[in-house]
């Protein structure tokens, strides 16, 4: 570990989803350099994997790709994909500037504050030379191994070497070492000799003055929910899988029942499936599932006009701008909203799914059959700072913010901010706004740091540095 490379940026953004990208873009606009470090092989986060987005019903690709492309082409932004952050430390660096002139307390302060954030980042091997690959997909076409494609909810296949998805950025192939049989076909066909079976992961250091955590969320898995059949009941899927079925270039290019390809006649949504329930481990509200269920129901009734669509819910939380009107439109379209907590889900006959719930008209437990059932699973934090840096988490495991009213993006580690679903479930509109908010906090913080170093007129008070008691 003698010569570990260090690259220096003003800001490092962890997570390349919509929160991270918007933060990076807003910071880069002020002429600060930004590193965006993304775990996956493409930036774009959850949003690029969605079909259409409420409340405008714009297609998700149409909104996300321009932001992705803008980040990729911004001279002030450098993207690092397939990267894991191993540790973040605040370290004192030696001042290179001469500040000998005065010995005022102000200057002592300057000395004390010359800290930087150093992140050790692991670049995982893609087994493809990122500089050579031109994204022609020849390797993907040539490879003989089919692997279940998580990008398509597992409903279709990709190859052992593939471009992650059609609008991925960067368009660089990734070899999935677990499923490669080293047949050598991809290497032979690659026009640029980009394939490198010997590539190894390596660590490097990103040094920055500020870090934004934009690590987003994950969904709880159906497979650990006994109430919903542990993921074993055919045709019970989660909402992200339904997003793929509805997406323009989804696995089937239309909505079919995954058990046998039948076009479903009756589709049901189970709301709060795994949220607002301590026994499920997610006591809080996941915040956007009501709205996406309504959105998906609307899209479904567009593509399957004859299908019967039902939403079983506890409360419909349509609280954002235009959301209540969206909900009322869905009702007017004939989508059925049933206030009931679904108690049991079982496999029915011929691939159907049987739900049991307590009826509100006093008929007691009622049993209903549906062709396809979508569970709106709980939203949980995608990343834990434990063992990586000194940022605390809330009881809900999302990043703890110390001034949630006046400066909602402040964490308890100096110079580290948070944006988007990393600080709790949040829809896209709220996430993009919060990203802007994090970006201004970063700008203020950098101005404060650099202003001190360069002897600029300091701003009067920086509340962002300390929580207001």
């Amino acid at each position: 570990m003698k010569s570990i490379q260090t690259t220096t940026f003003d800001v490092m953004v962890i997570g390349g989803g919509i929160a991270g990208l918007q933060t990076a873009l807003d910071i880069a606009c002020q002429d600060y350099s930004v590193a965006v470090v993304e775990k996956g092989a493409s930036i774009g986060g959850k949003m690029i994997r969605l079909s259409k987005v409420f409340p405008t019903l714009d297609c998700a690709s149409c909104i996300t790709t321009p932001k992705m492309a803008a980040a990729a082409h911004n001279d002030n932004i450098t993207l690092f994909t397939c990267c894991d952050v191993k540790s973040i430390k605040r370290e004192r660096t030696l001042s290179t500037q001469n500040i000998s002139n005065s010995i005022s307390p102000q200057n002592n302060n300057t000395q004390r504050n010359r800290f930087v954030l150093k992140a050790v980042v692991t670049q995982r091997a893609r087994y493809v030379d990122a500089d050579k690959c031109i994204g022609c997909r020849k390797c993907e076409y040539e490879c003989p191994v089919l692997v279940s494609d998580v990008e398509q909810g597992g409903f279709s296949a990709r190859k052992a070497i593939s471009i992650p998805f059609s609008n991925a950025i960067p368009q660089i192939a990734v070899l999935d070492a677990d499923n490669c049989m080293l047949c050598g076909k991809c290497e032979k066909i690659c026009p640029t000799h980009a394939i490198n079976y010997f590539q190894e992961s390596y660590d490097f250091v990103i040094q920055a003055n500020s870090i934004v955590l934009a690590t987003g969320y994950e969904m709880t898995s159906l497979s650990d929910k006994p109430q919903y059949g542990m993921g074993k009941i055919p045709n019970v899927i989660d909402a992200l899988q339904m997003e793929r079925l509805l997406a323009p270039h989804g696995p089937y290019n239309r909505v079919l029942r995954p058990s046998d390809g039948k076009e479903p006649d009756s589709i049901a949504y189970i709301q709060c499936a795994g949220s607002r329930d301590r026994s499920m481990g997610v006591p809080y509200c996941s915040r956007f599932c009501c709205m996406y269920a309504i959105k998906q129901a609307m899209l479904l009734s567009g593509s399957l006009p004859l299908a019967e669509i039902r939403i079983y819910y506890m409360d419909i939380r349509a609280f954002g701008k235009g959301y209540e009107q969206f909900y009322q439109n869905a009702k007017a379209m004939g989508i059925e909203f049933v206030k009931a907590k679904v108690a049991r889900v079982d496999a029915g006959e011929d691939g159907s799914v049987t739900l049991q719930y307590e009826d509100q008209n006093g008929y007691g437990m009622v049993t209903m059959n549906h062709d396809l059932v979508v569970a709106s699973m709980g939203v949980i934090s995608a990343w834990s700072p434990k063992g990586i840096c000194n940022v605390s988490q809330g009881l809900d495991n999302f990043i703890h913010t110390i001034n949630s009213k006046l400066s909602p993006t402040l964490t308890d580690m100096e110079g580290v901010f948070v944006a988007g679903a990393a600080a709790g479930p949040k829809d896209i509109v709220d996430t993009i706004t919060e990203a802007g908010s994090a970006a201004i906090e970063v700008s203020k913080y950098l101005r404060y740091l650099y202003g001190k170093e360069r002897g600029l007129k300091p701003v009067s008070t920086i509340s962002s540095l300390k929580a207001v008691a």
Partner: protein
Amino acid sequence: MKDKKEDQKHKENQEYREDKKVGVYICYCGGNISDHVDVERVREYVENLPEVAVARTNMFMCSDPGQQLIMDDLKNGTVERVVVASCAPSLHETTFRSAISRAGINPYIYEHANIREQVSWVHHGDQATEKAIKLISMASAKAEQLSPLEPIRVNAKKHATVIGGGVAGLRAAKDMADCGIEVALIEKSQFLGGNLAPLDKIAPTGESAKELLSTLALQVLCHPSITIYAGSVVDSFEGYVGNFTLGVKQVEPLPSKAADSDITAEADISDIQKTNETDKYKKGDYIPFSGVFAVDDADFSNRSDSQNLSVSSNWKSHVIETGVIVIATGFKSYTPNIGEYGYKKIKEVITLPELIKSMADSLNSGRLSSQDSFTMQKGSACSGKVRGLEKFLEIDGRKIRSMAMIHCVGSRQTPGIHQENDSGQLNEYCSRTCCTATLNAANIIRERYPSTRIYDFFRDIRTYGRGQEEIYEKASHNQVIFFRFEADEPPEIIESRESQSGKNFESNSQLNNFPICVKAKDVLTFGEEIEAPVDLVVLATGIEPNDVSDLVQKMKLPVGADRFLLEVHPKLRPVELPVSGIFLAGTCQAPMDIGESCNAAGAAAVKAAAMLAKGYVELDPFVAQINLELCNGCGACVESCLSDGALRIVDIKADGELIKRAEVTPPLCLGCGACVGVCSENAIDIAGWTLRQYEAMVDRIVAENILAVIN
């Protein structure tokens, strides 16, 4: 296979003829377009147009590989003009222009054809394909005529103006000032804090509104780069991004809003007296329920921290020259119609803000005397009573044995069920904050006055945010009793008092002596009819935008159907307005809580800072151009112009003679073309939309018989 085609294409391109220079790029939009438009057939047709050098297709033209196609063709000289046929230009025109720029080419040699919103989303089958061909051919004919243009560059003052001194306005002002921008903050009242001021404990954190507000407001008051115009409004507006001019007028000094109820109650008090009343506050003082006093005071200079204060206190008008404007004019609480749930007809029916105020009153005064006593304070509107083990909430000296809280009052109104307001509008939206605020108040009451029972009538409980579901859980735990009602069967408020004669309810312990009975059909128990006897009804009133019609008119701001100000796009440009240089922050845009308002303020501030960072702003060059040879100075265009100051007649010297000619002020020109139509000499053209370009498009529509090609 596809690649072979591509190679072939490449070969053809080697020998492309000089006269062919337009490249046409057609997007599948991942099926959004190609499901209805036969994209390959369109490509084949377009490829054969005389001016077209290449026509290509892509799954997502806006994706990186899609943009790369265009850049490669431009770089190797295959094309000189670009047409992209995809979604609406509002989404991606700038995406493709910037791709062209990156290829080192002038971005204005670009024309957009909208074949999604205008074609595939509304037409199907051959019809769709035919229309797509028509639109693209037209665009291509126009593209051939396009010439490079230069954006209009205007200098931008490093100065921002914030309108509204609520929490969003304060945050935006401070953010921009901390980024080195001079800021003017205009607040109508004499206090900073807006709707945050009347609150007490803020949900879900339990922080005190007073502390939050004092901290932020003092930071703003003491900031060397922020000038506050308190008690002032904007009374004139002109200019354009980077160079707005605002006239600010100080309005009549008002009494401190209900700061002291004894004083406001006196109707005959004169203006002068009122002014004196406010004079006793010092700038920076926190006045309960009003906010932080922001008007300068003579006494204030004696205070130790006064050096940095910069409040202009003259009752005069000011002119502010500013680069950008942030609108943060906030909301007002919905006032129920008279008789809505008995409001103003039955004295026991109050709104949530009224409840919060009277509770805060009592708690504050309670705290003054002794730490945790519930003994009645003289002069306080409300307090708790300890009677053995009983602790009851008291309002106006009345013991509240049980109370009802009704959600969604003035929100989620449905046509046909709810009554429109005077201007015929319904509040169809959800006010977002009232569920949490209601349950927060319910918890405080249940915990402080455990003997007071609470019935909560709701439609949906929307405790969506971080820490909010816990408040709902806590309310259940605190034995708040919930009833769910449907919009078309709201609870009924029935007066059941025997007489209005000021009967002493305290002495009356019989249940049927409650003044009010709330009747509802409870959906939670399968439509059971319930009757709740109560002493108090609290209406969870929603949020309505403040009336900013004067600003809307002066600045030409768009307003949504919900009467809130309307952003350009909720995801692409959430805090921007179509008027370049004007941004939105906080609840003037939509209901939000404090944290969300501050986030919106930060987002607006960062856009403003980015816009002012370079010292100049670039605008699209699609503005009127005068051909001085043809213009005869008649001035017809000036009369037709829709934008004040964009066109005028000036004297210019030609051959030693002074002649009159029209002149354009480009940043003010809307590019609407109204002047083009009236000019008898055809002397005006809109750059990028010239008459010749229109002619080319029209010729193309008439000339083509596309149907023949399709069939």
